[in-house]
Subunit: 232 residues, 2 copies
């Protein structure tokens, strides 16, 4: 593996509940076996009907919504809430987002983003006859670093984490901790060609090593267990 | 901007103190104006002579070294230390690393990775006559997500954070918080073509939007200030 190509998928129409995202994406771009398709959470949530009314005139309404979508509030400062969602993601406002959503509505995270990724993967297979990996991405902050990056909240057919432990470095010494979260790196790379305001909600990564294309899950591989969490 | 190409730079020899990294990289790959060159911390530290002896038979020696490289210990569990380095990075073991380093030595982080990036950028300009952005990358963990990802610890000639606030979404509504840490996403994308064991210590990203190519600094744009840190 020595080269990757990342391309935005332009021309997706506005997405509504019940839309077949896989079909709509496959109609806009020619996918090949082994491609990894990254789809942003916003369009997945819209296709899955995860919009709820939110009164913009009621300042407490969003806070109540965040609380109802959270398993636990991690930090609170002013109207910023960092919470753990029911999926186990720690992020701002339980992943609830008002941008690129009709006035008076908020988009919630998909109920099971790994399942969302599998649906899209299966749909691409059925529509286009190709076997792709799919990542559902969302935009999260980080505790000690400014700026947001896109990460994977669901995967299908592509590894969330690649374990390089047990391989050897150039000195012949066994590598220490080198479990690489390739799904987050792929999601972030895809963000670079999408842009928040451009309305490009999907991107294709071509050239991913074949050995990364396997069944996987964000829930089982990326979400850190309570026992391993030093920051709660 | 709709497509990016990411390519590893193969064939770099083993790096020693005093080596001219810019020249060695420019000799291995044809760089163009506007490319972003990502160089891993390990070879930068080696070129800058940031190796120190570390007795592998003394189990406390590494802990003492981590403490001496840290401004503050953030968490400690067993022999895992999460600390804040003198640069303000919060990471495991103050970024000290034994892999791909000669037996009996440890690699420390560069003293000023933004300056390291500027040196490489200036060296590429002098050697190859092209104007590139440079990111010095390192591999960090995250508090709530398994797996490591590469992030930027130094930049020159490329934005660390791109502020998309004040632009408008597809509904004509002003976007909320969308400061995107493109330097971390570029560093992570580069990691995907490098691989920990492959000995590929640099990668080139081609196709980055021209407006991202500006003076910047990880220290001033990415390192979160104490006042904004909810997790110390």
């Amino acid at each position: 593996m020595n080269s990757l190509q990342i391309s935005g998928v332009p021309g997706l129409p506005e997405i509504s509940e019940g839309d077949n995202l896989a079909e709509m994406i496959a109609a806009q771009t020619e996918l090949r076996d082994g491609d990894v398709l990254v789809v942003t959470q916003k369009v997945v949530s819209k296709a899955e009907g995860r919009l709820v009314p939110l009164d913009p005139a009621d300042p407490d309404a969003k806070i109540r919504l965040v609380e109802s979508e959270s398993a636990r509030i991690v930090r609170r400062r002013g109207d910023l809430l960092i919470s753990e969602t029911k999926h186990g993601f720690v992020c701002a406002n339980a992943g609830i987002d008002l941008s690129n959503v009709a006035e008076g509505f908020a988009a919630l995270l998909p109920l099971d983003p790994d399942r969302s990724a599998r649906w899209i993967r299966d749909g691409i297979r059925a529509r286009a006859g190709v076997e792709v990996g799919v990542i559902v991405s969302d935009t999260f902050g980080r505790p000690w670093r400014n700026g947001l990056t896109d990460v994977a909240i669901g995967v299908a057919g592509v590894a969330a984490v690649v374990d390089l432990r047990g391989t050897f470095d150039t000195q012949g010494r066994e590598l220490e901790a080198t479990q690489v979260c390739v799904a987050d790196e792929l999601a972030g790379a895809a963000e670079l060609v999408m842009g928040k305001a451009a309305g490009t909600a999907a991107a294709v990564v071509r050239g991913v090593p074949k050995e990364w294309l396997r069944e996987s899950s964000v829930k089982s591989e990326i979400v850190r267990s309570k026992a391993d969490d030093l920051f709660r």
